[in-house]
Symmetry: C2
Subunit: 619 residues, 2 copies
């Protein structure tokens, strides 16, 4: 085991970087939406998740595989991965703030996994119980390496959090089997669902065992060469249409593409392969410019849970899977560490506060799988997609959400040769090596962020503060960061002021589905209009172009104090059904003055479950 | 066999009606788009289809079932239905204009089917060859009754066309088995895919055997009661969410809903059940007002090939399956015969000239399964959906198209107590009992339709001529028909003039996906803009509101003479990708004057395969 284990307690520990990450427990988030979310995650979500590990079949399936109980396999072939993500969440929670039962859950699970694991290292309860003859024989949809990836990530987390030597041993045995078969023995199989690549690189970073990196590199470079058997979904679905170095745009299943990108950047960073890194950055630029929802969500199609074409960004049928938001944050974090460019932190912020934050109810016990930007009031709306649910048959999202929330501290700040960089503004304490910073802020409700140096080494260093692209502050911020260089002394302060004037935002004219509409943003928050906050039918409101929205603080049931935005609108006469909804020479009807009221998008669906729109028609 | 067989040679022969249909061969279509299409269908599509009956496995599968050959079953579990639809196409083609080999193909196929059929009447090659133990055991997705329905429709067609006593015998044996099991013996099973209902009613109409009608009625009324096992697609998919009498809107798989409606109207008409009929009309009104594309296409979602919510009508991701257009025409024809209201003939016209006509290439040998209203120029567009193809693994559409084209004469005119009603304007001859009408017109290119009575009985009768809702002629037309009552003599003429001034059409304001756009129609034709006809990038053009479009006749490669429309437009500066495609305070850019050129939608994708838009942004 390399000495990295002693240095890093976080999901990512690159051996070379532009920005060096901090430990999960180096940042204490002491309030704000994410502080509250970490609390809810600990008190409500994780307990629910632990309960579901039994109910959903995840743990019982492993007891079947271990030969310790009878009964039928329950759930999907990737059911094990739910437990792995849950384990990772608990590990980071333990790292952040040790608590009752976390270590025990990890150790007991590790013991169960060790008993279920075959002597050769193979571990997948579905294939061991249901389809022994198909082990590694249907990689195109088996998710065996995908599950191995999540096992590895859980084990790395547990090891770095100081509570998982046994889990790491299980993961390494499986990883060694993968290396033996898919690297040493030359099997060119690739999992249809990318994920193991980034996990293998992290296991390399933890252990120093280079064959894990080599296997990850092989898997990355062999994708796109037709080595994945047909699943009937077409080669785009699993990004097998083009070698990754040649692919210019994100395609197919969004979570697969985005996990793949995390692995691509990891391999590129560890091997110094700038061509590979550049290919990922090229796709990032295309993706952000043409296939990203205003919330940071990804995936425009339900069909295949997939990216659409460029500028295909429907608000109502946006898929924006919660897992895609998480995978996007993983990718952007890797690019940020590799390049130090603030645009990646900008997108992380946008995704965290909107696409990702909306995934979970205010009470932490209901989750969205799909995160659209519009909900209609149709009688026949599919209940499955309509509101947040406690759990899912395919429950990839909830434990994925929990592991990211538990490790949020990891994504706040970094260090580099110049000093300390702060990427996300949360109240609390940042310990970056010799530097301790106290951060006081009511962000994102208020734009003032006050930093107090509580301890510092002698000599000059730079405090780099991200200036979001949405900020109109006009201060100099190369690569997205304001730089304050000083011989900082304990007690020194610096205040950053970000302009939170609400912004009326228009879509690029090529986004057909949003033509004639506007959305409202304030700071990092995208707003939405829910029926419950309007007088009369939301569908009859249109925003008045050019009018300045007003900020209103209010207590809302279940949401507490929040900042709402009121915008000038017109109320149109109720629409009447026509024979056909297409008419020659129809004039837009006149409206009467009205107010449209918006709440932060991430808080939607916590009250009435009614109509919601992010994008409003313009009068 | 009832005496109906002697009276009717067409797909539909209700025993009670507001309008009585004519025989397929009572109307000779002698030109215009449909005359040309019937010719191409006969010369190109049907020969291709006959070839595919061997290649695709449809006929070989039946030889497997008959024990006459070895090998593996090929294709889907509903592969037999391709042959049945092909048989129906050939039967109507034989009826319309007997030709070499049609009778032989039907007789040989009937003999093969008779050999494949089990002694008890069961016939489905997939279940006989692959899954004998699952016969009638997985009706939720087996398509066994669906296939039986298409067999029955083919047999009815062959019988009425005078070339299929053997085929009818096969169909009746299977129908009798269905009656025995699902009516007499009380099995409450329902096929997940509606279709057999309308077929059973027609078999009743042909044979007078009331149990067929009774079974159809039972199947209609038992749907929506949870008797269909889960397929993982949810109960909406197969319209099993609500009893049909209670359902207020079209849901789920569009073709299933629309075939079901055909059966609903058939059962209602034959049993005099006005409540049932009214429920179908209620859904029709909702469907037309809120879930119908401007082309008449149905089904807004790829996911589940399904209807969306009300006003969810995306142009790019519209599914608009060719089979749904056909099913819609079936349903509307039944409603037209039952009620005599022109609005159903209006929708048939819209669907025929647009959603349906676009399904087939100008040369008759390539077909669309999906008929969107927009195609982007994305590198990663799915080739499967991007252009018409010669055939499909799931080839439900091509032979379905052929059977409707062969029987188009059936849908042109009807008789009633007052006289003769003409619903669709095609050049040629209409023989309606004692009345023979000659129709001269260059419709839809020209709005003048000249009728000459060639023979007539003595006494007064009424010539009813549909006045389409889009026509601005202002003439009196109760229920959509102008009435000319006279003591018509041979040689008398009447001329109908329909105003074909191009119309700039706006979408209902609730259709979010079309906001800020307009489309162009002329007569019954919806137009579209293809890249090949524009100077510069189509995506940079926006129509000028209020400008009058100009009509231009031109010869186009592969399309011959067609009527194009030129509209005043502005050319916007090329759009540039942004970091994120959402900007505060963006102004719409100014453009320079330009012309946008449109062709009839049904003619699209016959030249370059490039970008296409029905709905254009308004400047």
């Amino acid at each position: 085991m390399s000495d990295l284990t002693d240095r890093v307690r976080g999901p990512l520990a690159p051996s070379t970087a532009s920005q060096w990450p901090l430990n999960v427990d180096d940042v204490e988030i002491q309030g704000g939406p994410f502080g509250r979310w970490q609390q809810i995650n600990r008190e409500a979500s994780i307990p629910l998740g632990l309960e579901q590990m039994e109910k959903s079949g995840a743990a019982p399936n492993l007891r079947l595989a271990a030969g310790e109980s009878g009964g039928a396999f329950k759930g999907y072939r990737f059911q094990d991965s739910d437990l792995y993500k849950q384990l990772e969440a608990v590990a980071w929670e333990h790292c952040r703030l040790p608590g009752d039962g976390y270590r025990a859950f990890i150790e007991e699970s590790a013991a169960l996994l060790a008993r279920a694991q075959r002597p050769d290292g193979y571990l997948n309860s579905h294939y061991q119980v249901v389809k022994q003859d198909k082990i590694f024989a249907e990689l195109e949809y088996s998710h065996e390496m995908y599950c191995a990836g999540h096992l590895i990530q859980a084990a790395v987390a547990a090891a770095r959090a100081g509570c998982g030597e046994d889990l790491l041993a299980v993961a390494r045995r499986f990883a060694d089997l993968l290396v033996q078969r898919f690297l040493t023995d030359g099997d060119d199989g690739i999992d249809g669902h990318a994920e193991v690549e980034t996990a293998l690189v992290e296991l390399y970073r933890l252990t120093g065992e280079r064959s894990y990196l080599e296997l990850a590199g092989k898997l990355v470079d062999n994708r796109g060469r037709g080595l994945i058997a047909s699943t009937g979904m077409g080669p785009l679905y699993a990004q097998d249409h083009l070698p990754v170095r040649e692919a210019g745009t994100a395609v197919g299943h969004a979570v697969r593409q985005l996990y793949l990108e995390a692995g691509v950047v990891d391999v590129a960073v560890e091997t110094g392969d700038t061509t590979l890194l550049d290919s990922s950055i090229r796709r990032w630029e295309d993706l952000v410019a043409t296939k990203t929802s205003i919330t940071g969500g990804h995936g425009s199609r339900h069909d295949g849970e997939a990216f659409g074409e460029r500028y295909e960004l429907p608000p109502d049928r946006a898929y924006n899977e919660s897992c895609a938001a998480i995978a996007s944050i993983h990718w952007n974090w890797r690019l940020l560490l590799a390049t130090g460019h603030g645009r990646y932190a900008d997108l992380i912020e946008r995704t965290l506060y909107n696409a990702f934050a909306a995934s979970t109810s205010a009470d932490g016990i209901r989750f969205f799988y799909v995160n659209p930007l519009q909900r209609r009031a149709d009688l026949f709306e599919d209940a499955y997609l309509g509101r947040r649910r406690e759990w899912f048959a395919c429950a990839c999202c909830p434990p994925n959400i929990m592991r990211l929330v538990s490790s949020l501290g990891h994504y706040v700040a970094t260090t580099d040769d110049e000093g300390v960089s702060v990427h996300q503004y949360v109240p609390g304490v940042i310990r970056a090596g010799d530097v301790t910073l106290e951060v006081e802020t009511d962000y994102p409700w208020d734009g003032r962020v006050r930093f107090t140096v509580r301890s510092a080494p002698g000599g000059e260093w730079t405090l780099k503060l991200r200036v979001p692209a949405w900020s109109a502050s006009g201060q100099e911020a190369p690569d997205g960061y304001a730089r304050i260089r000083r011989d900082w002394q304990a007690g020194d302060t610096h205040t950053l002021d970000l302009d939170l004037t609400p912004r009326i935002v228009r879509p690029h004219r090529r986004i057909d589905a949003l033509r004639g509409c506007a959305a409202i943003e304030r700071g990092p928050l995208v707003y939405c209009f829910e029926q419950i906050d309007q007088d009369g039918d939301l569908e009859d409101l249109a925003l008045v172009p050019g009018a300045a929205p007003r900020v209103v603080e209010r207590d809302l049931p279940g949401l507490g104090r929040t900042v709402l935005i009121e915008a000038d609108a017109v109320r149109l006469p109720p629409s009447t059904p026509q024979d056909l909804p297409y008419t020659a020479g129809e004039q837009d009807p006149a409206g009467t003055p009205a107010t449209a009221t918006a709440v932060p998008y991430y808080q939607w669906d916590n009250r009435d479950g009614g109509v919601m729109r992010v994008w409003m028609p313009l009068a």
